[in-house]
Symmetry: C2
Subunit: 327 residues, 2 copies
Amino acid sequence: MERVRVAIVGYGNLGRGVEKAVRQNQDMELVAIFSRRPAGTVKVMDKNAAVLNVADAGKYIDKIDVAILCGGSATDLPVQGPQFARLFNTVDSFDTHARIPEYYEKMDRIAREAGHLSAISIGWDPGLFSMNRLLFEAVLPAGSTYTFWGKGVSQGHSDAIRRVEGVRDAVQYTIPVPEAMERVRQGENPQLSTREKHVRQCFVVAEDGADKERIAREIKEMPAYFADYDTEVIFISEEELKREHSAMPHGGFVIRSGKTGEGHKQLLEFSLKLENNPEFTASVLLAYARAVHRLNKEGQTGARTVFDIPLSYLSPESPDVLRKKLL
Amino acid sequence: MERVRVAIVGYGNLGRGVEKAVRQNQDMELVAIFSRRPAGTVKVMDKNAAVLNVADAGKYIDKIDVAILCGGSATDLPVQGPQFARLFNTVDSFDTHARIPEYYEKMDRIAREAGHLSAISIGWDPGLFSMNRLLFEAVLPAGSTYTFWGKGVSQGHSDAIRRVEGVRDAVQYTIPVPEAMERVRQGENPQLSTREKHVRQCFVVAEDGADKERIAREIKEMPAYFADYDTEVIFISEEELKREHSAMPHGGFVIRSGKTGEGHKQLLEFSLKLENNPEFTASVLLAYARAVHRLNKEGQTGARTVFDIPLSYLSPESPDVLRKKLL
């Protein structure tokens, strides 16, 4: 079996997830891990993978089929996306929704010029959730689509709490409101405010002697992050935070409720329940790395999203086996 | 807006569903309905659609972009599929799983020779469920996939009951076993027998004076259809059957439970809850008619399944609007 030679760019939770996912896919091979840290300081699991500085990526041009970019969307990917698309086919999880069109244009131009293919915004939202939003609207044009996130840890919201004065550490859970989901599933097509859809639960470790009332108030009143939600703040010890809240669960639901004919209710639902969010996202990135490699071999270049890539390219099985086994 | 000119072939529940679905899609236009019945005897809703005998399809070669084949898989589609693929792009819901490879080969060859594109086995199973089975396996390679059907009316099983001596009419519901679904959702990866996954509930109208005990026994012992299931037989009046059991609900679940990393459980689930099964299937067929028309305009010919067609082709929106709104 010809194996897809993969590189990981950025070795945080997501990068380590990709390394683990490669082991679950016999047609994939991890060739190199690029990190900004000095090579000697990066401890990787796979002994056969080269550990290199991102600056040395150019030396691996003929040794890598797809580079999987595991950096963050705020500052890493806007730089590394274009940089790596010049050298390799790429897959990334760019998830700053508002900036996707701009990022797409740039990646499309650069990848096309370089003869590479770049799958952007891969993962579950954007990603699998986006696919279902599109599919659901297309097959049920009269209706409403709802996305609920959670129960799960939001890294961005946890970080925001950590910036409050007197906070030592924090973990924030986004939780969908069951009553809202039930109304959607009943086909009520409700207009739901931000507050009605999700609640936010914050486990906070305060510095010794800090004013907990002020901390709780500052969190609850924080614009954009918490002010529009019913927010619960729970103070716990550092030990309890580490013991009970260091997993990275997440998940969510895409639900479309619509009607056909003379008013027959039709309900479509897609959901994820993840014990480990970065490992699952990594697993999705890897399936798209397979697709990107194949499509590029067929001559395709430029940027693609989950909307553009036929599902058959994600599977290691041949089209006739897929038709026989899974259709 | 250029509209996709659609024909319906076969005017039963599914054909009427397509006619209703066209009204929900402003970029679609119903041009003709082909039926085997004499044209004067077919009452259609859309006054602008021509009503014709299937034998006259050849006269419409330049007036139709896609023919949507709404006949059954047992006897209609094996004949009408090839026949119409010579004349038009087609979409059908061929659902005899065991014969899909053979049907695909034939449709692929004929459509290719004629310069047309044929989407086969479109609907929800095969169709949306198949897509999710493939997607789930690709993004979570270590795990097990389960498909549950119902609660819903199985036409095939209802027909089988009607063939039992002394039965005037019957409706059969396929019902997934909640305990089995719960075990799957808990990540137990159970081995489930046919009996453990679904129960069958039969509402039967007996002829006057018929031996109900014998009827119930014959149903429960019927090989392939009922013998492998826990089957409940409930005798009711003809009036009650018409009043309570003439809707056509259906639905089901595709669930994949798998693991990543050092054993983190990940759960993916897709489900449908349909008040009207043929109307929903019709709505899916129409979205794929849009895709088939577009792909054929781009030069693609031959047979395709849900595995081959990128999602963006299903939507009337442009790719940049889709990236902005739904990604």
